[in-house]
Amino acid sequence: MKNRFYVIAAVALVVFFTACSKSNTAPTVVPAYSSTQTLTVNFSTTKPFAFFAFKDSSIVVNSDSATAKWDFGLRFTNFLVNSNASGPGNAGVIMQDGVFANLNTAPSTGYAYDTTSAKLAIKDGSWYDYNVLTHSFVPKAGKVFFFKTADGAHYAKMQLLAVDYAPFTGPAPSQLLYKFQYVYQPSGSTNF
């Protein structure tokens, strides 16, 4: 309850300040960029991560893992954000409960970073439930991820829609397909 209050307060503040800035300087309104993507992710925890950049909806090659070209990485059910222990970028993330379409302002502070490899911004298990019947990782409903991108200057909101297995034969799957939608704000504003 208390946390919720702070979140609401934070959102209110953000709204207030952005509202002010709007009236003072007439900004050039850059439309936010919306997209739905499917990312192919390794199932094995010994194989490489898949890296993604919001800016251009691109999958970043693995050889660029030590650059700030990517925002988040995925392997099995483990998320990385491009900061500290995981990469040279300044990417951070906040996971918030709510309806994706209704959360239209990214928090300006409070982002979590991959401080150490033991303390990642997105904890495994925090965003899904495992379904024993279908063996699927069902993303929890109502979880919205606000990202600060690797350049530390842009914001995106993202929600997972589905996690499926890529078709496979044999005993174990080799890849997961992460379907997600996001809105990226190229202007640097926290509003979407």
Partner: protein
């Protein structure tokens, strides 16, 4: 829960999964024999002699039509059915015989308010039967919360909280007593939802019974029952062998849904009158079962067949000395020992190498003293004390573990207002070596204004102590690499793992140095009821409510193993409630025809979930748009595996002249939640439910000459099957029983449903 299982299961997605992977905590013992797991049977009988004697001292039943049936479970001493103040129902020998069923769970499932369920995890094992067997859900509580007694003594060897009922032979059951509502005040841990006491025959006079049973799936059963009294010695001997080919509900998967099995059940009971005041009862029981294991696994990424078997053994012995101190007081000295073991293995068929094996041994030693005092027409008093010494040694536990519990109970029953008003107050103390003293009180009142009506109200506290698995499970999944650790071994294991570099760098384990021990799960239950009887009618109504807190569940530790995979342990988390209403009606049309019907309405919900809904914290995902929205109270169906509506309907025809009878039963289980699909871990959408279904059973028998009785019947007439969600239900089966009974001992009260 889900988290724990998942990673493992993935390994074998497309094989008969649970068989070859380490399912975890729930599965404590076995890796492979999941299909199996016959559960133990036991013996002992403390309460039997009670019934033999003292019947004269039992109050006359003042309710019309309640007959003279005597029950012992509700008060730990004999009472006429009509005089019992707590909700009690009885299944007598006659009913069991008329169903012709060899499956105790089938007989129980025909009772109002009893639902036979799979464990929550078990239901999810895609297309395979629940490895843990099926258990009893009473008052909406899981099977782990009903104490199952055989002749008054507890059965051991529960797996994931479920004691597999399918392995209790029905051939020598005298009656089954069911007490609903918290009964920890007399029976301690586990008796939170109630008690089911299976009471076997006692030697009354000479009798030889033989039965040959044959049914679908090449099932054969043979039973010998012999009883005699020589002077002051009584002997009762029971032997039953049952074998079956099992069945297969899914031809596309290798192996059978239920593999072939055979089992042997033996029971010897001796009573001896040492003097007019001193009586001895000895009871020995042996259960021996074996079931094939035959299924497909993946070995080095290629499909391979493994085979082996699971053997289960259960041996118990019970001795009781009863001393009549005076005509109104007596004392019992009891000793009970039970050892259950389960061993399982599979070998790779192609090269004969051992692929997997598990073992599990559990034993309990239970000495007890009980004292009873009767003041005729005024009061009855019962008190006792005893101890439970439990031992467990399993391949998945951290070494051999022992627990000791000391307990004492006391209960007084007063009869007031010309014995129209009965008041019961009692309590039990349990002190286990690893947690604080636990007190479980209960009070009950019944009022009988006349010979037709009885009103009852009872309330009590129940508790369930943490299991061995919650405390000592030490399971590291070798293939995947996650860990599940019981609370008692968590700290030393974490230290060990850290020293060996198995924890992720920087993991702060210090907060687990004084890891909080698990507390017992506790409940408060209330039941209010009314009963009306006349010569033609018996009608009962009841409403109930149970609040349970400190439910134990799995959680994830804040740090991972060095391989990045999680470590799990247990903690007290949840609070739930169950509430509902039940009704039972019986009507006798003529001497030959009678009908009965029962109905239960049940709500069972998680309090935290309701709170989250109210605070707007719980979301659901639309299966089509994949967008999330808030869950409403109307959406929330309740805890999984609970049906809001269950009902039964029975018709009995008995012709004592032509000596034949027919018994038809219909049992309905309404829709129940099966598994979350829309991302919120609760049951809130139609596609997360299993649809309701009917089980229709019929049996008819005819007697010929002095000794022969032939019975034929069919179970599951509608041939209901659900290979995915209810694989334990075979399709329609037919059976025939041929009985020889020489010197029929007693004329069982017939004419009762």
């Amino acid at each position: 829960m889900s988290f724990v299982c998942h990673i493992t299961l993935l390994q074998h997605c497309f094989t008969k999964l649970w068989q070859s992977n380490e399912l975890i905590d729930e599965i404590l013992h076995h890796r492979n024999q999941m299909k199996k797991t016959y559960y133990l049977l036991f013996c002992s009988f403390n309460l039997l002699l009670l019934q033999l004697s003292a019947q004269t001292r039992v109050f006359k039943d003042t309710l019309i039509g309640s007959s003279d049936e005597v029950v012992v479970t509700a008060n730990r001493s004999e009472r006429k059915m009509g005089n019992v103040a707590v909700p009690t129902s009885l299944i007598n020998k006659n009913t069991i015989t008329k169903t012709g069923s060899l499956q105790l769970q089938n007989i129980l499932s025909e009772q109002t308010g009893i639902v036979i369920v799979n464990s929550a995890l078990g239901t999810s094992l895609n297309g395979y039967p629940n490895p843990f067997g099926q258990g009893v859900q009473m008052l909406g509580l899981d099977p782990a919360y009903t104490a199952i007694l055989l002749d008054g003594e507890p059965l051991v060897g529960r797996n994931a909280g479920i004691l597999k009922l399918g392995r209790i032979a029905t051939g020598n059951i005298k009656q089954v007593e069911i007490v609903k509502g918290p009964s920890s005040s007399l029976y301690g841990s586990e008796a939170m939802a109630g008690v089911i006491n299976i009471i076997t025959e006692i030697p009354v006079k000479e009798n030889l019974g033989l039965q040959l049973h044959q049914s679908s799936n090449n099932t054969w059963g043979g039973t010998i029952n012999y009883a005699n009294r020589f002077n002051k010695t009584g002997v009762q001997f029971f032997l039953n062998r049952l074998s079956s080919d099992g069945y297969d509900l899914d031809q596309n998967l290798y192996g059978k849904t239920v593999d072939p099995s055979r089992e042997l059940n033996g029971h010897l009971k001796i009573t001896q009158e040492i003097s007019s005041k001193l009586q001895l009862l000895l009871s020995l029981r042996n259960y021996d079962a074996r079931q094939d294991n035959n299924y497909q696994i993946y070995y080095q990424s290629l499909p391979a067949i493994v085979s082996g078997f699971t053997s289960e053994k259960d041996k118990s012995s019970f001795a009781q000395l009863k001393y009549n101190i005076s005509p109104t007081s007596k004392i019992y000295f009891r000793g009970f020992y039970d050892k259950y073991s389960n061993e399982s293995f599979v070998n790779l068929v192609k090269n004969g190498l051992r692929f997997d094996e598990t073992s599990f041994v559990q034993s309990v030693l239970k000495p007890e003293v009980q004292y009873e005092k009767i003041r005729a027409g005024k009061s009855q008093y019962v008190a006792g004390f005893g101890a439970n010494f439990e031992m467990i040694d399993a391949s998945r536990y951290a070494g051999k573990q022992q627990l000791a519990t000391g307990y004492a109970f006391t209960q007084k029953e007063w009869y007031l207002v010309q014995q129209k008003l009965t008041i019961i107050a009692g309590a039990r103390l349990d002190k286990r070596n690893d947690f604080a003293m636990h007190v479980s009180p209960r009070v009950a009142v019944s009022y009988k204004p006349n010979s037709k009506w009885k009103f009852t109200a009872s309330a009590g506290l129940g508790f369930k102590a943490p299991d061995f698995r919650h405390m000592y499970l030490n399971f590291n999944n070798a293939q995947i690499g996650y860990s599940l650790l019981g609370t008692s071994i968590l700290w030393p294991e974490l230290q060990k793992m850290q020293q060996q570099g198995l924890l992720q760098t920087g993991a702060d384990i210090s907060r687990f140095a004084n890891n909080q021990e698990l507390k017992p799960e506790t409940s408060f239950g209330v039941h209010v009821g009314a009963k009306y009887t006349s010569n033609k009618w018996i009608a009962e109504w009841g409403i109930f409510r149970n609040d349970i807190k400190n439910l134990i569940d799995v959680y994830t530790l804040p740090f991972a193993r060095s391989n990045g995979l999680p470590i799990y342990s247990y903690q007290n988390i949840n609070s739930v409630f169950t509430e509902g209403a039940e009704m039972d009606l019986k009507y006798r049309f003529t001497n030959r025809w009678s009908v009965s019907g029962g109905y239960q309405f049940l709500l069972a919900k998680d309090k935290q979930v309701l709170q989250n809904i109210d605070q707007g914290l719980l979301y659901k995902r639309d299966p089509n748009t994949l967008q999330s929205s808030l869950v409403t109270r109307q959406d929330y169906f309740g805890l999984a595996n609970r049906s809001k509506n269950t009902a039964n309907f029975k018709v009995l025809y008995e012709d004592n002249l032509q000596r034949w009878d027919a018994y038809f039963r219909a049992v309905y289980r309404g829709q129940f939640g099966f598994m979350d699909k829309n991302g919120n871990n609760i049951i809130d959408s139609k596609d997360e439910m299993t649809a309701g279904y009917w089980m229709l059973n019929i049996a008819a028998s005819k007697s010929f000459g002095p000794a022969l009785r032939i019975q034929v019947g069919a179970e599951n007439l509608l041939n209901y099957t659900n290979a995915i969600q209810l694989p334990n239900i075979p399709g329609r089966t037919y059976f025939i029983n041929i009985n020889f009974n020489i010197n029929q001992p007693t004329n069982h009260k017939s004419n009762r449903l």
